[in-house]
C-alpha cells in the first residue's frame, strides 16, 4: 500500500510531464511570438522576401542583365512587358528588383554565417577559459571596436575592389565582434550558474558541460542576435552599393539601384521609389521578426 502510494504520484508526475511536454521553451516562444501582431507581420514580410529571393529567376519576366536598347528609362506601365519600367540602360526594373532580393538575402545570410562560425567559438573560448586568454580577447575586441565600422569596411573595399564575395568578407570582418562579445558574456554568466556547478561536482567532463549545459542555454540570446545581424549585414551591403563600391554590375543590388537613381530622381522618380520601398520593407520585416523573437525567447518577459 505504502509503495503503491509512493509510486502512484511518481507515475502521475511522469505522466503529467509527458502531457505538459508541449509547453517547452520553444512552444511557449512560438505562442508568445504568434500573439504579437507586429512579429507575425514581420514573419510574413520576411517569408515573402525569402520567397522572392529564392524564386527570383522564375518570377522575373526578363533576365536581370538583358539590355533593351530601344526601351531606356521607361516609366511604369508605359510598356506592357515592363510593369515597373526600365532603368537607365534599358533593363527591366521588376526583374532587377526581384534579383536584388536574392543578392541582399545572400549577403545577409553569408555574413551572419561567417560571423557565427568565427564569433561563437572565439567568444566561447574566451568566456570559458578566462584568465589570460580572456584578457587578450577583450583587448583585441576593444581595439577593433575603436575602428569606425563603416569607414573601415570602405577602406578594405577600396583596397580589394568591390564585388559580391569581397563585400561579404569585408562586412564579416567587423560583424563577428558583437557575436563573440555576446557569447563570452553568456559563458561568463552561465559558468557561475548552479547547474554547471552541479555538473562539475558530479564529474562531468568539460566538453560535455559546454555542449550539454552551456551552449543550449546560451542559444536563445545568440539566435536573437543573429536575427538582428542579418538585416544589419543587408543594410551594410545596401550602403556600400549605394556609394557605388559594393556589388558590381550587372548583378543587381537595391542599394546600388537607389544610388544610381539619385542622379535621375527629378524626372524618373520610379527608379528611386521602388528599390527604397523594397529596402524599407525588408528592413522592417526583419526588425519586427527580431523584436518578436527577442520578446518570445526572453524568459524574463514571460509571465
Amino acid at each position: 500500500m505504502q509503495t503503491a502510494a509512493t509510486t502512484k504520484p511518481r507515475a502521475g508526475s511522469l505522466f503529467d510531464r509527458t502531457a505538459k511536454s508541449h509547453r517547452t521553451l520553444w512552444h511557449n516562444a512560438l505562442r508568445q511570438f504568434m500573439r504579437n501582431r507586429f512579429s507575425v507581420l514581420g514573419l510574413c514580410l520576411v517569408s515573402f522576401f525569402i520567397f522572392l529571393a529564392v524564386f527570383a529567376n522564375l518570377l522575373a519576366p526578363h533576365p536581370y542583365d538583358k539590355v533593351y536598347f530601344d526601351r531606356v528609362l521607361l516609366f511604369p506601365l508605359e510598356h506592357a512587358s515592363h510593369p515597373l519600367g526600365t532603368d537607365e540602360v534599358g533593363r527591366d526594373y521588376l526583374s532587377r528588383l526581384l534579383h536584388g532580393a536574392r543578392t541582399s538575402l545572400f549577403v545577409g545570410l553569408a555574413v551572419q554565417s561567417i560571423a557565427v562560425v568565427i564569433g561563437v567559438p572565439v567568444g566561447s573560448i574566451a568566456g570559458y577559459m578566462g584568465g589570460k586568454v580572456d584578457f587578450v580577447f577583450t583587448r583585441v575586441v576593444d581595439i577593433m571596436s575603436a575602428f569606425p565600422g563603416l569607414l573601415f569596411t570602405i577602406l578594405i573595399i577600396s583596397l580589394w575592389g568591390g564585388g559580391l564575395f569581397k563585400v561579404i568578407v569585408a562586412l564579416s570582418i567587423t560583424s563577428w565582434l558583437g557575436l563573440a562579445r555576446l557569447t563570452r558574456a553568456q559563458f561568463l554568466q552561465l559558468r557561475e550558474s548552479g547547474y554547471v556547478e552541479a555538473a562539475v561536482c558530479t564529474g562531468t567532463p568539460e566538453p560535455r558541460i559546454i555542449a550539454r549545459h552551456i551552449i543550449p542555454n546560451a542559444l536563445t540570446p545568440l539566435l536573437v542576435a543573429v536575427s538582428f545581424g542579418i538585416p544589419a549585414a543587408m543594410y551594410g551591403e545596401a550602403g556600400l552599393s549605394f556609394l557605388g563600391i559594393g556589388i558590381n554590375d550587372p548583378l543587381p543590388s537595391w542599394g546600388k539601384m537607389v544610388g544610381v537613381s539619385n542622379a535621375y530622381v527629378r524626372v524618373y522618380w520610379h527608379l528611386a521609389l521602388f528599390p527604397t520601398i523594397a529596402i524599407a520593407l525588408a528592413m522592417l520585416g526583419f526588425s519586427f521578426m527580431g523584436d518578436g523573437l527577442r520578446d518570445a525567447l526572453d524568459p524574463r518577459l514571460i509571465e
Binding site: 581595439i143 575603436a146 575602428f147 563603416l150 569607414l151 570602405i154 577600396s158 530622381v265 522618380w269
Partner: protein, 322 residues
C-alpha cells in the same frame, strides 16, 4: 578617480597607436600607390621625384615612424590631392560644414526624441504610445539614404518646396541665419530620423522604468504636480540611458554621414573620406581614421565620467571606492 581617468587616457592612447599601425599597414598592404594613375602616365623620373618628395620611397617602417613623429606634434602632413594646404586645414574646412549639419541634427534628434519618449511613456500603452513607438521603429530601421530619397521625392520633386541638394561650402549658411535658408531642412531631417528613433526608444524605456518606482508613487501621493513630477523626479532619474544614447550618437553625427552627404551633395568630412580612400591619399586616410577613433574613445570616456556626475551611486574602476 584620478587613477581611473589616467588609466583610461593611457588605454585611449594605446588604442590610437594600434589604430594608426593597422590603418598604415592596411593602406600599404596592397600594391599600387597614389601616383600610379593620376595625371596620365608620369615619366619614371618625375614619379620618383614625387615619391621622394613625400617620403614614399623609404622603407615602410621609416615612413611610419616619420609620420608618427610628426603626428605627435599635430602635423598630419600634406594631402596628395590638394598639395597647397595641410591635412589639418582641409579637415577643419570640411568639418565646418559637417559640424553644422551635425549640430542641427543633434538638436533636432534629442529635442524630438526626448519629447517623443517622454510623451509615449506618459501615455503608456495607449494608441499614442503605440504610434510613437512604431514611428521610432521606422526611424531606426529604415536607412537614412532611403528616407532622404523619399523626402526629396515628396518635398523637392513633387511639391517643389525646398531645394533638392546642397549646403553652402563657404559657410554662408551659418547657424545664425539658418532661418533664411532652406538648404538644411531636408538633409537634417533625413539625418535626424534615425538617432531620434533611437533616443525616443531609450527615453521611453527608461521613463517607463522610473515611473514604476516607489519614489514616483510617493511623490504623486504627497501631491506633487504632474509637471514637477516629470521634470524633478522622473526625468532626472531617467538620465543614464539617455546619456548612453547621446554617447553612441554624437561621434557619428559629428563625423558626418557619408550617405546624407553624398545624397545631398554636401562637401563634408564623410564624403571627403570616400574620395580620399579611393585616391589613396595616405595622409588624409590616416588623419581621418585617427580623428574618428579619437572622437569615439573620447566620447566613451566622457560618457562614463558623465554617469558618475549624473548618478553619484555609480562608481568607476571597480570596488576601490571614492
Amino acid at each position: 578617480m584620478t587613477r581611473y581617468v589616467t588609466g583610461r587616457i593611457l588605454s585611449l592612447l594605446f588604442v590610437m597607436w594600434i589604430v594608426s599601425m593597422v590603418t598604415f599597414a592596411m593602406m600599404h598592404a596592397v600594391p599600387g600607390g597614389p601616383f600610379d594613375e593620376t595625371k596620365g602616365r608620369l615619366p619614371p623620373a618625375a614619379r620618383e621625384n614625387i615619391l621622394r618628395k613625400y617620403g614614399l620611397d623609404k622603407p615602410y617602417h621609416v615612413q611610419y615612424l616619420n609620420y608618427m613623429k610628426n603626428a605627435l606634434r599635430l602635423d598630419f602632413g600634406i594631402p596628395f590631392s590638394n598639395p597647397t594646404s595641410t591635412v589639418t586645414e582641409v579637415i577643419l574646412s570640411r568639418w565646418r560644414v559637417t559640424a553644422q549639419v551635425g549640430i542641427l541634427t543633434v538638436l533636432f534628434a534629442f529635442g524630438g526624441g526626448i519629447l517623443m519618449g517622454v510623451f509615449a511613456a506618459y501615455h503608456q500603452n495607449s494608441i499614442v504610445d503605440n504610434a510613437v513607438t512604431f514611428l521610432a521603429m521606422l526611424g531606426v530601421v529604415i536607412p537614412s539614404f532611403v528616407v532622404a530619397l523619399w523626402l526629396i521625392l515628396i518635398f523637392a520633386v513633387r511639391l517643389d518646396l525646398v531645394p533638392m541638394r546642397g549646403w553652402s561650402d563657404s559657410g554662408e549658411c551659418v547657424i545664425g541665419d539658418i532661418a533664411f535658408c532652406s538648404d538644411w531642412i531636408l538633409p537634417v531631417f533625413a539625418y535626424c530620423i534615425g538617432p531620434m528613433g533611437v533616443i525616443g526608444r531609450y527615453t521611453r524605456a527608461s521613463v517607463v522604468d522610473v515611473m514604476r518606482q516607489d519614489y514616483t508613487r510617493t511623490a504623486r501621493a504627497k501631491g506633487v504636480s504632474e509637471r514637477m513630477l516629470m521634470f524633478r523626479h522622473v526625468l532626472r532619474n531617467a538620465q543614464i540611458p539617455m546619456i548612453t544614447a547621446l554617447a553612441t550618437e554624437v561621434p557619428n553625427l559629428m563625423t558626418g554621414s557619408i550617405f546624407i552627404e553624398s545624397t545631398f551633395s554636401i562637401n563634408g568630412l564623410g564624403k571627403y573620406f570616400v574620395t580620399s580612400v579611393f585616391n589613396r591619399d595616405y595622409p588624409m586616410i590616416m588623419a581621418l581614421f585617427l580623428l574618428i577613433a579619437f572622437l569615439w574613445s573620447l566620447t566613451y570616456l566622457l560618457s562614463d565620467l558623465a554617469y558618475t556626475w549624473v548618478d553619484p551611486r555609480v562608481r568607476l574602476g571597480g570596488a576601490q571606492g571614492a
